[in-house]
C-alpha cells in the first residue's frame, strides 16, 4: 500500500487524485470490514465530498495541504459533525454530534479525507476491543487474536491496508499497545500537544489523541498536522505545533538511551529479545546504552487504576438520558437515569464507574485518590531523575505479542497488566512511541517503546526511524 507521504505527493502533482485514492481505500474496506469489524460507520458520501474538494484545490493550482487526498480512519470517540459517534457504547447509539473535534478540522484543512469511525473498547476502557458493544475487531495479521485496545479498530484499519493512517486516543496505552499488536507505529504525544476538544473524555488528565501509521514518517506528518494550541481546550499547550517530519532522519548519534529494567521485566522472552536487539541497533547507530532501574514505574499500574476510574466516574455522569443518547423510561427522574445507565453501559464501564466512585467517596478519598495523585508525582520525579542521565528511555511496549480472544476477559487484572509498560508515560504526561521491531510467537510483530521527556517528539521519531531502518524497512 502507498504511504500517506506518497499519496499526498501524487495527489498534489496530479499523478493521482484524491478521488482515486479514496476509491482504493473504500474497495479494501468493502472487502474486509465485514470479516474484521473495523469500522462502525463508513462515511462514503462525506469522504467523496472531501476528496472532490481536494481535487478542486489541486485543479486550481493551489497547495492542497501536507495530507492531500490521504484517507484517514478516526476512532469512534472523536466527534464529527453529523456523523454517528458511539464510543462503542449502546448509550450513545444513534447520536450525531453537533460539532467536530479540532483534530478533524485540522485534518480536513491539511487535505486529508476522513472515511469513517473505527471500533474501540467501550469508552476506550479496555486493551483488546473485546469490550465494544458492537462486537470485537479482529487482528488483520491473525484473526484468532485481538488487535489490542482500546484503539483496536484504528490500528486494524491501517494493518488491513484500509487507510494508510488513522487516529486513536491513549489514556494508558490505547495507541501504543494496539500499534505493537498490529505491527504499526503509534505515538502518544506530550499531554496538551494535541487538542482534546471533541474527544469524548475518559480520564481527562491522561487522555491524548495520536496517530497510527505503517511507517515513522507518516506518523510524524499526521502529528504535525493535528498538534498545536487550541483555545477550545484549556489544557492545550500555549505554543505552536513543532516541526516533526524534518527531524525523522536526525539519527541518534551521541544520544544516551536508558534501557530500563522495569520496562522489560515480566515480558515474554520473544519481547525481551526484541528490546535487547533494539538496544544493539541504537548502539550501532552511534547511541550509548545506559542500563537503568526506575522502581517507581512498578507503582504506575496501581495509581492509574485509581486515577483513571475516578476521572471516568465523573466524566461519564453526563450520560444520564436527559440531553442526548439513550433514555430508558422510569417513574421518576432517578428511576429513569438508573434504568438508562443500567441498560446503556457495558460491564467494564460499570466496573470502572464503581471503582472510581468508591475511590472518590468521603472517608476514602485520601487513602485512594489522594494517595494515587501523590504516586503520580513520585513517577514524574523518577522520570525527571532518569532524564538527567539519558536522553531517551527504551523498553517493551507490551509484555507479550497479540493474545487470543477470550484469554483475558474473565480476569480484569490480567487484562489491566497488558498496560503495565505504557502507563508511566500517561501519568507523567510525556510522549512515547511504539515501533515494530522483530517478530515473536507465531511470527507476530513485537513493539518496542521509546519514551522521552515532555515535547521530545522530534527525538522520539528520530529514534523510531533508526529502529525502523535496522528492522529492514528503509
Amino acid at each position: 500500500m502507498k504511504s500517506a507521504a506518497e499519496i499526498a505527493r501524487d495527489v498534489q502533482s496530479g499523478a493521482s487524485s484524491a478521488a482515486s485514492e479514496l476509491k482504493t481505500a473504500l474497495t479494501q474496506i468493502h472487502a474486509r470490514n465485514e470479516e474484521l469489524n473495523v469500522f462502525l460507520y463508513v462515511d462514503e458520501e462525506g469522504a467523496m465530498r472531501s476528496a472532490a474538494a481536494v481535487d478542486e484545490r489541486v485543479g486550481r493550482g493551489e497547495d492542497a495541504g501536507p495530507l492531500a487526498g490521504v484517507p484517514v480512519a478516526l476512532k469512534d470517540n472523536l466527534c464529527e459533525v453529523g456523523i454517528p459517534t458511539t464510543c462503542a457504547s449502546k448509550i450513545l447509539k444513534g447520536w450525531r454530534p453537533p460539532y467536530s473535534a479540532t483534530v478533524i478540522d485540522r485534518l480536513l484543512a491539511a487535505g486529508a479525507v476522513p472515511v469513517g469511525k473505527t471500533n474501540l473498547d467501550e469508552f476506550a476502557m479496555g486493551s483488546s476491543t473485546e469490550n465494544s458493544a458492537f462486537g470485537p475487531t479482529l487482528n488483520p495479521l491473525d484473526t484468532s487474536r485481538v488487535p489490542g485496545g482500546s484503539s483496536g479498530g484504528s490500528a486494524a484499519a491501517v494493518a488491513a491496508d484500509m487507510t494508510p493512517v488513522s487516529l486513536g486516543s491513549d489514556t494508558g496505552g490505547s495507541i501504543r499497545q494496539p500499534a505493537a499488536f498490529c505491527g504499526l507505529v503509534g505515538m502518544k504525544p506530550s499531554y496538551g500537544l494535541v487538542s482534546r476538544y471533541g474527544l469524548i473524555a475518559f480520564a481527562s488528565s491522561l487522555d491524548q489523541i495520536g496517530p497510527f501509521a505503517a511507517n515513522v514518517m507518516d506518523a510524524a506528518l499526521v502529528l504535525e498536522v493535528i498538534a498545536g494550541h487550541d483555545p477550545l481546550d484549556s489544557t492545550s499547550l500555549a505554543e505552536p505545533a513543532p516541526s516533526l517530519a524534518s527531524h525523522v532522519n536526525d539519527g541518534v548519534a551521541g544520544k544516551r538511551i536508558g534501557l530500563v529494567r522495569e520496562l522489560i521485566d515480566g515480558a515474554d522472552e520473544d519481547v525481551v529479545t526484541s528490546v535487547e536487539r533494539a538496544a544493539e541497533a541504537m548502539k550501532e547507530a552511534g547511541a550509548t546504552i545506559v542500563e537503568l532501574s526506575v522502581p517507581e514505574f512498578r507503582l504506575g499500574l496501581s495509581a492509574y487504576y485509581l486515577i483513571a476510574p475516578a476521572e471516568a466516574s465523573s466524566n461519564l455522569a453526563r450520560f444520564d438520558g436527559v440531553r442526548y443518547g439513550l433514555r430508558v423510561d422510569g417513574d421518576d427522574v432517578t428511576a429513569m437515569m438508573e434504568a438508562t445507565r443500567t441498560a446503556g453501559f457495558g460491564d467494564e464501564v460499570k466496573r470502572r464507574i464503581m471503582l472510581g466512585t468508591y475511590a472518590l467517596s468521603a472517608g476514602y478519598f485520601d487513602a485512594y485518590y489522594g494517595q494515587a495523585l501523590k504516586v503520580r508525582t513520585l513517577t514524574i520525579d523518577a522520570f525527571d531523575r532518569a532524564y538527567q542521565q539519558v536522553d531517551l528511555i527504551l523498553g517493551a511496549t507490551t509484555p507479550s505479542v497479540a493474545f487470543t480472544f477470550g484469554s483475558k476477559t474473565s480476569d480484569p487484572m490480567a487484562m489491566y497488566l497488558s498496560d503495565v509498560f505504557t502507563i508511566p508515560s500517561n501519568l507523567s504526561g510525556e510522549p512515547a512511541i511504539s515501533v515494530p521491531f522483530g517478530t515473536g510467537e507465531g511470527g507476530l510483530p513485537v513493539g518496542v517503546q521509546l519514551l522521552g521527556p515532555g515535547r521530545s517528539e522530534g527525538l522520539l521519531f528520530a529514534g523510531a526511524r533508526v529502529l525502523e531502518i535496522a528492522d529492514g524497512r528503509p
Binding site: T235, L237, Y324, D332, G370, Q371, K374, L378, E430
Partner: protein
Amino acid sequence: MNALDLADLVATAHPFGIVNVVREDAIRPSLDHDVVIAMAPDAQDGRFAVPRILGEAP
C-alpha cells in the same frame, strides 16, 4: 501503594503544572439551541424534558 510514606509530596493534577486559563469575558457564538434540543430523548417548549423529580405529596 498504601505502604509508602508520601507525606512530603504534592499531588499532581496536571502533568506540566499549567495554571488556570481564562479567556476574555466576551460573547461568542455557541451551539445552535434548536440543534442541541433536537438531540434530546425528550423535549418540551425548547427545554429538556424529564420525568417528575419530586415524590408524591405525603
